[in-house]
Amino acid sequence: MSTSTLTPAPHVPLSVSPPGSGRRRFKNNVATVALTAAMVIAMIPLVLIIFEITRRGIGVMSLEFFTATEPPPRREGGGYAAGFFGTLYIMALAVVMSIPFGIATAVYIVEYGPNRLTAAIRFFTDVMTGIPSIFVGLFVYGLLVIGWGSLGFGTFVGAVAIAVMMLPIVTRSAEEMLRLVPNELRNASYGLGARKWQTIVHTVLPAAAPGLTTGSMLAVARGIGETAPLLLTAFGTGIIVNAFQGSPQGAVPMQLYRGATQPFEAGIDRAWGAALSLFLLVLLFTVIARWIGSRASVSR
């Protein structure tokens, strides 16, 4: 092919915009504005929520709010002591049940996998994160409250429901953290003559500890705010209940829900106070978790 037969195209200086470029540039600018606007819109709800729960909740939060139980909804004063106690009780039990299980599951997946069983466990753990919380409540109700032993409503069955909600979150994050532990550490441990279980307990888990803490705390932050499964298992009450099992137990989110959906202003005010304290609690756990995670020796 000889190029000499082609007539050269007329010279177009690069500074001249090709036809249609004005429209294209205009479109691009419109899109930029629209995308920025979308970002702003996405931020608005969070700002509004934080502003509103702070504005209406700050006045309610006092020492009394944390130490007194709730009067009938139309009366002022009093607090969510029963809810806070119940939440603490339920969360303590749920943490004891879910976190060791979740970490052990992750250890099995990472240190003894991959095989068919670990693949199945991984897949179903992922699936479990998507189970509706109300269904978990129904399941625990069917299994423990009216099923085996007819345990009735109470602290323990509520904690089981929360633990089932937390388990996949703990497992998923622990799995990722264990995968980040470098193999050199494992090999060094084996080289010193340690057995596999000694390597895992003394080398792998300590190396991954900050990450494991992060994941567990995020799971706790999720668990604290759960309402729906507790309605069906712990059932809720306005008084402080010490019983491990057998009598209905309260929790902040449940009490908040009941306070918010009744018509009296005093009860609604207390619900805003509960919302603020619940949000601060969740925020505290989330921020500390991220902080530990960010200064971990083993991180992404």
Binding site: R24, K27, N28, A31, A34, L35, T36, A38, M39, A42, M43, P45, L46, L48, I49, E52, I53, P100, F101, A104, Y108, Y112, L117, I121, F123, D126, V127, T129, G130, I131, P132, I134, F135, F139, G142, I146, L167, P168, I169, S173, G193, R195, K196, W197, I200, R222, I224, G225, E226, T227, A228, L231, L232, L256, Y257, A260, T261, W272, L278, F279
Partner: protein
């Protein structure tokens, strides 16, 4: 890992010499392995128990109404018997409520999530991108009961209600926007759901967009494309399956969300085409009526739960399969 100062190696001060010579360690290894394997298997056992226990519990209702009779029956009238099923159990009003609110939520959240994800990956100033995405994800940490409280006592009276009245007065002739505007109803529940599923959808779409190969985008720019053209013609088409997966995970959340919907949907047992009408979703109906229900009615609620579980499982498994085929990028985002 602390690094120790180099010293002359010494014999380990371990009188029992636990590691090598003790025969105890020989059994410790298999015991440890089987313990963690048992913990792992628990997940599968819990899931199996879930399906088995709730289905057997709900079986009498399905047996009486038939599967389709249950799904499409119009009346929910629970009986008070202790031993047999005497009421009529048609879950259609609640299934309709779930579908409508989830559809509204996806319709609002999906375009917004895509735009926010594109902004975060392609437009945001580098120093702002990380704090901004943290802030959006912080929204996911807010407990749903707070969304419900805020939605019911602030967002509804101050923002949504005036907006609904405006829509009703201009578009009221259209069957979806027929009045009267009662305040609570399908539409406000759907809008608050959209806010709730926005973070998870944004997080996943952002990760999918962030891993798109840079070469193709560079090639697009080299051909003279504007940024908008690169985004719409290069980035988004190749992120399509990730966007589908994100919508399905968001949909799964929206279908199963209970408390916020319960506080905003109105809680009636009827259904109607107007988005301003009140109703119930499957999850909200369970939570609303569970407390005062007779044992028989709770069997009916269990049946709704099983149907809800089936739908969310199908949606979630499809989403997971898509995500898994995309590669293992899901981190905190998918939790």
């Amino acid at each position: 890992m602390s690094t120790e100062a180099p010293e002359a190696p010494q014999a380990p001060e371990d009188p029992q010499r636990r590691t090598l010579q003790s025969s105890r360690g020989r059994f410790a290894d298999p015991i440890f392995k089987w313990t963690v394997a048992a913990c792992g298997t628990t997940v599968l056992v819990i899931l199996a128990l879930m399906v088995f226990r709730t289905t057997t519990e709900a079986w009498p209702v399905f047996a009486k109404e038939g599967f389709f009779g249950f799904l499409f029956g119009q009346t929910w009238d629970s009986g008070g018997s202790r031993t047999e099923i005497t009421g009529t159990y048609g879950a259609w009003p609640f299934i309709y409520g779930t579908l409508v609110t989830a559809t509204i939520a996806i319709a609002i959240a999906l375009p917004l999530a895509i735009m926010v994800a594109v902004y975060l990956t392609h437009l945001a100033p580098r120093r702002l991108a990380k704090p901004l995405s943290y802030t959006v994800e912080l929204l996911a940490a807010v407990p749903s009961v707070i969304f419900g409280l805020w939605g019911l006592h602030w967002f509804l009276p101050n923002v949504m209600r005036p907006f609904f009245e405006l829509v009703e007065s201009t578009l009221g002739w259209f069957f979806l926007f027929e009045g009267p505007v009662r305040g609570v109803g399908y539409f406000p529940a759907g809008i608050v759901l959209a806010i709730m599923i926005l973070p998870i959808m944004t997080a996943i779409i952002r990760e999918v967009i962030a891993v798109q190969p840079l070469e193709q985008q560079m090639a697009g720019y080299a051909l003279g494309s504007t940024r908008w053209e690169v985004i719409t013609k290069v980035v988004l088409p190749s992120s399509f399956s990730g966007i589908v997966a994100a919508s399905m995970l968001g949909l799964g959340r929206a279908l199963g969300e209970t408390i916020a919907v319960l506080m905003l949907i109105g809680g009636s047992q009827s259904w109607g085409a107007s988005l301003f009408g009140t109703g119930s979703s499957m999850a909200s109906h369970i939570a609303a009526t569970f407390g005062e229900s007779s044992p028989e009615a709770r069997t009916g609620l269990m049946a709704i739960g099983v149907a809800l579980f089936l739908v969310t499982m199908i949606v979630n498994i499809l989403a997971r399969v898509i995500v898994w085929r995309l590669g293992q990028f899901t981190g905190d985002a998918a939790v």
